[in-house]
Structures are given as C-alpha cells and as structure tokens.
Amino acid sequence: MNAGEASTSESQPLLSMRGVAKRYGEREALRGVSFDAHAGEMVAVIGPNGAGKTTLLSIVAGVQPATSGEVRMADGAAAGRGVGWGVGWVPQHPALYSRLSVAENLELFARLERNPDPSAAVATMLEQTGLRERAGERVEHLSGGNRQRVNIAIGLLSDPAVLILDEPSSSLDPRQRERLWHFIGALSQRGRCVLFSTHNVAEAERYAQRVLVLADGEPLFIGSPVELARAAGSEEELGFEGAFVEFLRKRGH
C-alpha cells in the first residue's frame, strides 16, 4: 500500500494525520504524511537517518507544530481516559530530572498533568514498570534501562490513548529490550495505540502490525511488514531487513 493513504482498518482511527509537512527554512523535513492509527495497534516508523522519523513523532506529540497539515484525535481520545492528555510521549533521551528520585519525578509530572490522585498514579506506574523497589533512588544512579522505564512511566502517567515512543530500545541491552517490548505489547493489548520509531527493523517486523517507511521526509510506504517485503519483491531470500533495504534502493534511497 502506498503511503499517504488511510489505514486498512475498518474501525474509527484514534489518531489521524492528513498532509502533515514540516519545513526548517528552505529544508523540507517532512512532506505530505497521512495515515491513521487505531486502538490496540502498534505502528513502527522506520527509515534511514534523517528520514524525518523524530520530526514526525514530535509533531504528533505536540513538541513542535507542523508547517502544514493536521493531526487529529478521535472524539474522547484527546481527553484521554484519565486526565487530559490524549498522547503520551516517550522521547528518545530520557526526559527526567536526574537529581530527583524515581517517585519524585513521577509525582512531579503527575501533578503537572493535574492528575486528581497523583499518589495513586505514581504507585500504579511504579507497579506497572517494576520500579517499586527503586522508587526512592535518584535517577542519576539508575541504569540506562531503568531510566528508560521511568521515561516510559512518565509518558503513561495520564493513561493516554496514544503512546508515542521515539527509538525506545536504542540504549538497551537485548534482555532489557525484550522486557521493554513485552511491556509495550501489553499496553497495546490493553487497547492503546502505540506509534514508535526504530532503527532496528527486526523489532518493527516483530512487534508492529504496520510500518510507515519514511525517507528524506517523504512517506514511501504504510502497511504490514509482510506487505513491505512483498513490495520489495524479495520476501524469502533477503529477510525483512534485506527487503527493507531493497525497497529503499528501488525507490532511489
């Protein structure tokens, strides 16, 4: 399926992007990105370096505005099922106060999100991310994997309908990665729409129902990993990573 078209799902999308473009002066970082994402779906955004993956995710997360186009949430989703935020954001680098403890970080963001019961939200997140034992520990003393867990926990504090993760596994070892994807998969199974970017295309093939391929800001493909391999014309011989590279090569990237 060509990128820029609506998703294949029949249900109403939680997140909808239409013609989203971003320019930095003369440089066009993104052009005409349109796609829908649904509840319980995991969508991977893949592409070479400088493709516009982080730009796209940061626009969805509201970190920066698009130059043109629009991002929409389904009615009810924008308000979140909890407290206001429709979109939870987990940036590539853990966005945490290293001199505060895990619990203090969670409580601060819960309060800033005007959570009616910050203590309960903190306790839930500590439980879900398995950080209860580390609650009083300062973030600066945590391992990279645990920092990423806190990073994700903050993104989930408002119980968002859509979760945006920018290269969530990049700083983790294989064991930590496995745990992370297990955790994210469970979120998706509970009905959250997960949009993530990754350089590891094997992760995209394994965990995403659909992949969005970007190159030089241009959306090249959106569909299932199997469909991408088929579009590359080399399903069996090259494996998914080889198929992805072949797909890019055929498209002149």
């Binding site: 509201g62 505005p65 935020w85 954001w89 601060l108 963001f109």
Partner: protein
C-alpha cells in the same frame, strides 16, 4: 508553578556544592571589589635620607621656619623608611626595600634662607617602569604639598614684613630702629613739613616723596592678597550635584551588593533554564503549547493536547526562583555590610525595591542566556563571560576614556541591567540621581526585553 518551584528548590538543595559556590563566589568577588574601591591605595615605601641637621631653620624677615616641618609633610603621604645617607637610600631602592628614595640635602635651610638660590631635593627611582609609575605620582604629590606648605609660611612672613612697613612702629627685628613711621603715615608727615617750609625748589622734591609714599602705601596695602594669589593662583572649592557626596564606603557597598546580586541571579536563571534542556525535560514540559488544546483542525496548528507548562510560565518561574534566591543573598549581604558601614536603615524599603527590580532584570538576562545555551556548563560560562565585562564597563568613570568609547560604553551599559541596577541601589542607599523611580522603570523595561528574548530562545525545544 509551585510544583516547578518546589522541584527546582529540591534540586538546588541537593546540589550543595553548586549552591555554595553560587553564593560564596559572588560574595567573595563583591567584597574584594568593594574593598578595592573603598580602600585608599597603599602608601608606597620610600626611603628618606634627611641630611639636614635636626635643628636646621630657615630665617626669613626675622622669623624662623623649621625644616623638620617640611620633612614631616613628606611623611604623611608615603611609608617612610628612614636612612642615614644618600648611599643607604640608593641601596634601599636597589634592594627593593623601598620603591624610591628622597634625599633632603644638608644645605636645604641655607639655600632657602639665601632667597636667591633654589633649594634642591633629590628623588631616586628604580628602573622598574611599573613601580615607577606607582610611586612617582605619590612622591610628586607629596613634594608639591610640602612645597605648598613651605611657600605658605614664607608668604605669611613676607606679608607680615610688608604690613610692618606700611603700618610702621617697632618691627621686632633686632637692630632695626624703634618707632619707625609707616608708609601710610609718611604723606601726612611730609605735607606738614611742606606747610611749614619756605617756598623753594626743594618743596617740589618733598611733594614727590609724599606722592611716592602714598603710591607705595596704596600698592603695598594689597600685597597680602597679591602674595596669596601668587602662592596659590587657583583655589579649589568643591560642589556636589545630587545633594551631597556619596561616601566611598557606601558606594563600595552598592557595587559589592549589585555584583553579588548579578552573579547569583544570572547564574541561577541561566543554569535553571539550561538544565531543562540538558535533562531533555523542556520538550516534555512545554509540548502542546504551540496551538495547545486546539482541536479546530486549523492547518499546521491543530494538536490534540495541552502543555503541562507554557513557555511564558516557565520563564516566569525561573525568573522568580532566581530573583527570590538572589534577593535573599543580596539583602543579607547588604545588611551584613551595614554593620560595618553606616547605612540608613530607614530606607530599607527603598533598598528592597531596588534589589527586587534589579534581581528581576538580572534573572531575565540569565533566562535569555539559558534559553540560548543547550547545557548548564555552557550557560554558566556564557553568563560569566557576559556579566563580568558588563560590571566593569558600568564602573568606568566618565572622562577616563576617549569620548567616543565612553559613548559606546554608555550604550552597552544602558541595554544591560548592571548599570541601571547600580544606579537604583545607589539611589536607594545614598539618595543619588537619577532617582529611584527612573532606575526602577529602566530595570522593568530591561526585564521585559530580556524575558521576550528568552521566549524567542525557547521557540525550539528539541
């Protein structure tokens, strides 16, 4: 905002070394600068070889002047290192025990008494240009003072002798005739003589003598004023604008406190906002604030969310935090120094107003710096690099540099808060002008300007 404030205070409390440095360093710098400004330069060590006999006197018009008085005048402006001979004086300078030497010759009194020959005092400098420049002006000033004192004494003697000539009587000088007629009396005496003198050719001569005596009396009558004018042609009278002289100590307090306030404010504010970037939390806090909460579908703007904190609120929070902390440090410093230097405690309200407005302007500058930098260390370095020269530029006195350069300094000082803060504090503590209100308005304008620049710097958060 209170949760952000609480968070920042918690982080500060856990960064004790940083807080210690942030408070102690500016206070130390401020006190050093204050001391440097308030203390008079140290008196240079000067070897003095007084070869005149201790009892040497100069006799003028029957009055004796003690040469020791001239010597003591010199001692008031230097740290004297007494030596016995010229050679010892030279050795003292060579060895570095003294920066220079003054040799008062044995014949000083004789030369002065002769009136026809000038007396000479020898000054010996070493060859170090830096030390020479330091000591030369002091010695020249000391010698000029001593010369002036001596010349005043000579003038007084001369004026008294001339007065005696005009008034007549007993001159009090041994060997002079008693009950001499003064020049003022001579015309009347001569006219009486002429009246009783037969008309003859010598009457014309007597009239000439009377006219001369009258002329001499009139002119010598103003001799005292003329001599005063000659000995000190220009007399200086002091006039101070703005109501009075600011004591140097009080001004030094103002400088010390304003520098302390500047450092704490600028560093805290710059570090505070840069920390949000360094920890990558800035984007998390303000995401959604560009068209936040709008669901209208307006192209390029619609986004389903709202910011945890707007950029404006974040700037305001950093401003208040930095200004509040710095205000506390500065007020304690001002009060502490007030224990040693006389300050008007009745004006504490004005001090607080000046400190508060200055703190806000400095904090706004700090936030603008922090918004441009990507990490705390870069922000701190930039804050230091900018603050120090600004403070020194604001302290450059008018007339000490070329006109064009001073104009440029004035412009730079006007657009940064240090000078305005200095003027506000000076007005609050010492009642100087421009008045407090004008300085406060200036500081408020700068606060708005730098806060706007900070908002511009925070446009991009990634």
């Amino acid at each position: 905002m209170r949760w952000l404030l609480k968070k920042d205070l918690l982080i500060l409390a856990r960064s004790r070394l940083l807080v210690g440095v942030l408070v102690l360093y500016p206070i130390a710098v401020a006190l050093l600068i204050g001391l440097a400004i308030s203390r008079a330069p140290a008196k240079p060590k000067v070897a003095i070889a007084n070869l005149s006999p201790p009892s040497a006197t100069v006799e003028l018009g029957g009055t004796r002047l003690n040469v020791a008085h001239y010597y003591s005048q010199l001692l008031t402006q230097v740290q004297p290192v007494p030596v016995a001979t010229r050679a010892a004086a030279v050795q003292a300078v060579r060895s570095g025990r003294a920066l220079a030497a003054i040799v008062i010759p044995a014949n000083l009194a004789a030369r002065l008494s002769s009136v026809t020959r000038q007396a000479h005092v020898e000054v010996i400098y070493n060859s170090n240009a830096l030390e020479q420049s330091f000591v030369r002006s002091t010695i020249e000033s000391a010698l000029a003072q001593a010369n002036l004192q001596l010349s005043n004494q000579i003038r007084q003697v001369a004026a008294r002798v001339i007065g005696d000539l005009v008034r007549g009587g007993n001159l009090g000088v041994a060997g002079t005739p008693q009950n001499l007629p003064g020049l003022g009396e001579i015309p009347a005496i001569v006219r009486t003589v002429i009246a009783h003198h037969p008309p003859a050719a010598d009457r014309a001569q007597l009239r000439r003598i009377a006219e001369f005596a009258e002329f001499a009396n009139q002119n010598l009558g103003v001799a005292h004023e003329v001599l005063s004018t000659i000995s000190q042609p220009i007399q200086v009278s002091d006039a101070y604008l703005h109501g009075g002289r600011t004591p140097l100590d009080a001004y030094a307090v103002v400088v010390a406190v304003s520098i302390s306030l500047m450092f704490v404010c600028v560093l805290l504010a710059a570090g505070g906002i840069a920390l949000e970037r360094e920890e990558h939390t800035l984007a998390r806090l303000v995401r959604g604030s560009d068209g936040a909460g709008e669901r209208s579908g307006r192209p390029g703007r619609a986004h389903p969310g709202r910011a945890l904190v707007t950029r404006e609120l974040l700037i305001a929070q950093k401003l208040l935090l930095a200004a509040g902390c710095a205000l506390m440090v500065a007020f304690v410093l001002l009060a502490g120094i007030g224990a040693f230097v006389h300050l008007e405690w009745g004006r504490a309200g004005q001090w607080l107003a000046a400190l508060a407005f200055a703190a806000l302007a400095f904090a706004a500058l700090g936030v603008a710096i922090g918004a441009l930098a990507r990490e705390v260390r870069a922000a701190s370095l930039l804050a230091f690099l900018l603050s120090l020269p600004l403070a020194f530029l604001a302290l450059v006195p008018a007339g000490s540099v070329a006109g064009g350069l001073y104009d440029a300094i004035r412009v730079v000082s006007f657009v940064f808060p240090y000078k305005a803060a200095l003027e506000a504090l000076d007005a609050a503590v010492n009642r100087t002008t421009p008045g407090l209100l004008i300085s406060l308005a200036h500081l408020l304008g700068l606060t708005v300007l730098f806060a706007a620049l900070a908002r511009l710097g925070l446009r991009r958060v990634d």
